[in-house]
């Protein structure tokens, strides 16, 4: 009576065993993965920590590498104009030239107009007088050392060298140009160490009313990469055909040179750091896998196939790698943002384009570093490992 009953479970067990040989039970596979992590919390945590740090450092440097160029472009804009518009054959620019420049820049840069004449003081001393827009010049030429910016009409900014000649006690003085005289109140002095020191700067309105001369030069500091700047130059040349648009080669080439070298050095540093991080992951995982050789031996002794073992350890490594990479990525973005704030006083934009690279890189490195010790272990007899050799 009992025979058929007792047969059934053994048949079931045989069937289950047969099905397990063909396809490992997913829940068992998962359980082994989870238990391994729980039972060796310390080891798993330290391996994960190494992964997180490696991924964080890699993310930080990659993010900085991508973003630093944009940051340094901004620093170089403090050098002032990189594009200059001049009326052809020393003529004045059309009246709408500045508004064309502003609409072309669309907020990505600053432009300032300049109009110049040579006037004479009451003693007959010739002096260059420039009409400009003080608010724009202030943004464009940040290196100007100005004691006090003019605010009211007829106030002028006097170059330090001109100041000692025409207005040594900053008293008001007269300037004559083509028979017309203008009384000027010095508001402050400007010092740059260059031609500006010998000039007198007036507001454009005062200047035009007095001399009748319109701006002949617009200096433009356009933001962005060299490609963007040359695109801006092309647009400007099309929008204002009466102007000769030229790059300020001194600034443009110096910038390209410094940025190029900085970027190459940063690339070398990034490569070194990525290499070190990979090395860190490699030695951590080799430790992790060789630490589990007994598990490996038991599984092998219980009949696990080579494929299953490879899959199991590879899955473990991949999960470790992916988790480490994700957490490290978030930490790395935080660190990059902090460096941006501390060093460049501006946020480093998180580059999510870096994430796939970091993720894929981590998983590839973890898989590689897991496979290396496994292939070493596979040659060893389980009995030898279990005996403790």
């Amino acid at each position: 009576v009992s025979e058929p009953v007792s047969h059934a479970p053994s048949n079931v067990a045989r069937n289950v065993a047969a099905s397990r040989v063909q396809a490992p039970h997913p829940s068992m596979f998962l359980r082994m993965l989870v238990r391994a992590a729980i039972l060796r919390r310390g080891r798993a945590a330290s391996a994960l920590l190494a992964m997180v740090v490696a991924a964080a450092v890699t993310t930080t440097v990659l993010n900085l590498y991508v973003d630093v160029q944009a940051k340094l472009y901004r620093e170089f804009r403090d050098y002032g104009a990189n594009v200059i518009l001049v009326g052809r054959d020393h003529s004045s620019l059309p009246a709408d030239a500045l508004s064309h420049v502003d609409s072309t820049l669309a907020g990505h840069g600053v432009a300032a107009p300049f109009a110049m004449v040579v006037a004479r003081t009451t003693t007959g001393q010739p002096v260059v007088v420039v009409g400009t827009d003080f608010d724009r010049v202030r943004q464009l030429n940040r290196w100007w050392s100005v004691s006090n910016w003019p605010a009211a009409p007829q106030q002028a900014l006097v170059g330090v060298r001109a100041s000692s000649t025409v207005a040594p006690n900053s008293q008001p003085f007269d300037l004559a140009f083509q028979g017309r005289t203008l009384r000027i109140i010095p508001a402050g002095t400007v010092q740059t160490g260059a031609a500006e020191d010998s000039r007198i700067y007036l507001s454009l309105a005062d200047f035009a009313a007095w001399s009748g001369v319109e701006p002949s030069t617009i200096e433009v500091a356009a933001d962005g990469s060299p490609e963007k700047i040359s695109a801006v130059m092309n647009q400007l040349a099309q929008a204002i055909p009466a102007a000769d648009v030229r790059p300020v080669r001194q600034i443009v080439e110096g910038e390209a040179r410094v940025l190029g070298k900085t970027r190459s050095t940063l690339l070398a540093a990034t490569a070194l750091i990525v290499l070190t991080s990979a090395l860190c992951v490699l030695s951590t995982l080799m430790g992790w896998v060789s630490d589990r050789r007994r598990d490996f031996a038991i599984m092998k002794a219980l009949g696990a196939s080579g494929r299953l073992l490879n899959g199991f350890f590879a899955a473990e490594a991949a999960i470790l790698g992916a988790t480490g990479a994700l957490v490290g990525f978030i930490a790395g973005i935080g660190i990059a943002a902090w460096i941006g704030r501390v060093n460049f006083h501006a946020a480093v934009v998180p580059r999510f384009s870096v994430l796939p690279a970091v993720l894929a890189g981590s998983i590839v490195v973890t898989l590689l570093s897991a496979i290396l010790p496994i292939s070493l272990l596979r040659r060893v007899q389980p009995a030898a490992i279990l005996r403790g050799e």
Binding site: R40, V57, A162, T192, A268, A269, L279, S283, V342
Partner: protein, 422 residues
């Protein structure tokens, strides 16, 4: 016994020791190279920034105002004061003479030019040095616009400093329809155009010739209007801006011996009689900002690299020790105390760290040199003081990496360790 244990451990476990050693070597290599690059990057970028042009200008003390619009000088040519060309070599004799990378004197002269009867025209001719050889004791210093203004482009060839050839700015050349090799009459002298100059600045409307030629046309031998000096400077700070006259002895010495733009300008005034030196703010103010950003960036990147390599070394050491639990069990079973066991491991770690640290330092020095050569075309030098520092760091990091693993290995019950249990 201790020495023998350590020796045998290295002899018998070559593979493991090599693996850990390689990790330490690579970590130290990266650390050395990064520290060398980070300490030298400021100087390298400073030199690159010199490509933006001179950062100091020397003018005569009693100079009249410059009257110049768009490269055309409207000041009467002989008006105002001049500097003396004979004083120029003194620029390379100031306290910070090694920081002076180049200088170029200029002497603008207004001339009338004529090409084969194509009409006369007034233009400014600037006399300067192109690549002048200036004897300084036994050595020679080569300086001039070719090194101070690297963005100047020539189609044709550069004139020699002792020739009577001229460069013509590209817009002036276009107006006069001039090509390299042609002759032109400059203030009744027949001169040859050796090249067309393109700078993107006011020089495009001017002519450039040797200083001697400009002095001859002006009729003032030895006269120089201005001297542009390119010097490596330290970013200016509040201390730099203080007035040297109000400083006490020690403070003044510290100010004088710092390569601030102000202190170099001060020394230039001391060297050149009747002169006034000033920083060109567009160049000198901004290079400080760029320089400190790049230096700061590399400082932080180096921290990241040090951190990563320390971690790599620690991980390698921890792995190496975890594999040797059975050994610890055996030693303890034979009666070794915890301190004795730990001493063996720490002894091994020190030996490994020192040997690999030395190898890594050498490799890092080579790597830094390679980076310097390939990116900056100049060597990145490694200070010898770095060696003990790097070795110290290597030993500390190796210790730190081993400490946790050793503690765990030592505290393990020998029975479990020998049986192979966790």
């Amino acid at each position: 016994m201790f020495a023998r244990l350590v020796y045998e451990s290295f002899r018998r476990q070559k593979r493991r020791k090599v693996l850990a050693g390689v990790a330490i070597t690579l970590g130290v290599t990266v650390a050395t190279a990064m520290i060398a690059v980070a300490t030298d990057i400021g100087d390298k970028i400073n030199r690159e920034l010199r490509a933006i042009g001179a950062n100091l200008v020397i003018t005569p003390q009693e100079d009249s105002l410059d009257v110049e619009i768009g490269g055309v000088n409207l000041k009467p040519p002989s008006d105002g004061a001049f500097l003396n060309e004979a004083d120029l070599p003194k620029i390379k004799e100031i306290f910070w003479h090694n920081n002076v990378t180049g200088f170029a004197p200029v002497l603008p002269v207004t001339v009338s030019i004529e090409v084969n009867g194509r009409g006369r025209q007034d233009a400014t001719l600037v006399g300067t040095y192109f690549a002048k050889h200036i004897p300084l004791g036994k050595e020679e210093f080569v300086t001039g616009v070719r090194s101070t203004y690297p963005w100047w482009k020539i189609s044709g060839s550069w004139p020699a400093d002792d020739s009577r050839d001229v460069l013509v700015g590209e817009r002036l050349a276009a107006r006069m329809d001039l090509k390299p090799g042609e002759q032109l009459a400059v203030s009744d002298r027949q001169l040859r155009v050796s090249g067309i100059l393109s700078t993107g600045g006011v020089e495009d409307d001017q002519m450039v010739a040797s200083l001697a030629l400009a002095q001859e046309i002006l009729g003032k031998p030895g006269a120089v209007r201005r001297i542009y000096v390119s010097a490596l400077t330290k970013p200016e700070d509040a201390f730099a801006r203080r007035d040297p006259k109000s400083m006490s002895g020690a403070v003044y010495d510290r100010w004088y011996c710092s390569p601030y733009p102000q202190s170099i300008a001060f020394q230039l005034v001391e060297a050149i009689p009747h002169s006034h030196a000033e920083q060109i703010r567009q160049v000198s103010q901004n290079e400080g900002a760029v320089l400190s950003r790049i230096e700061g960036l590399f400082f932080l990147i180096t921290l990241a690299a040090l951190f990563a390599s320390a971690l790599a070394v620690s991980a390698a050491m921890a792995t190496a020790i975890f594999e040797r639990r059975a050994e610890v069990g055996l030693m303890k079973a034979l009666g070794a105390g915890q301190i004795a066991v730990a001493a063996v491991f720490f002894g091994e770690a020190t030996l490994l760290a020192l040997a690999s640290g030395l190898a890594g330092f050498a490799a890092g020095a080579v790597l830094a040199r390679q980076i310097g050569q390939s990116i900056f075309n100049s060597q990145i030098s490694i200070q010898p003081i770095l060696l003990p520092v790097i070795l110290g760091i290597a030993v500390i990091v190796t210790f730190a990496g081993s400490a946790v693993a050793i503690r765990r290995a030592v505290s393990l019950d020998p029975v479990f360790a020998l049986r192979g249990a966790q």
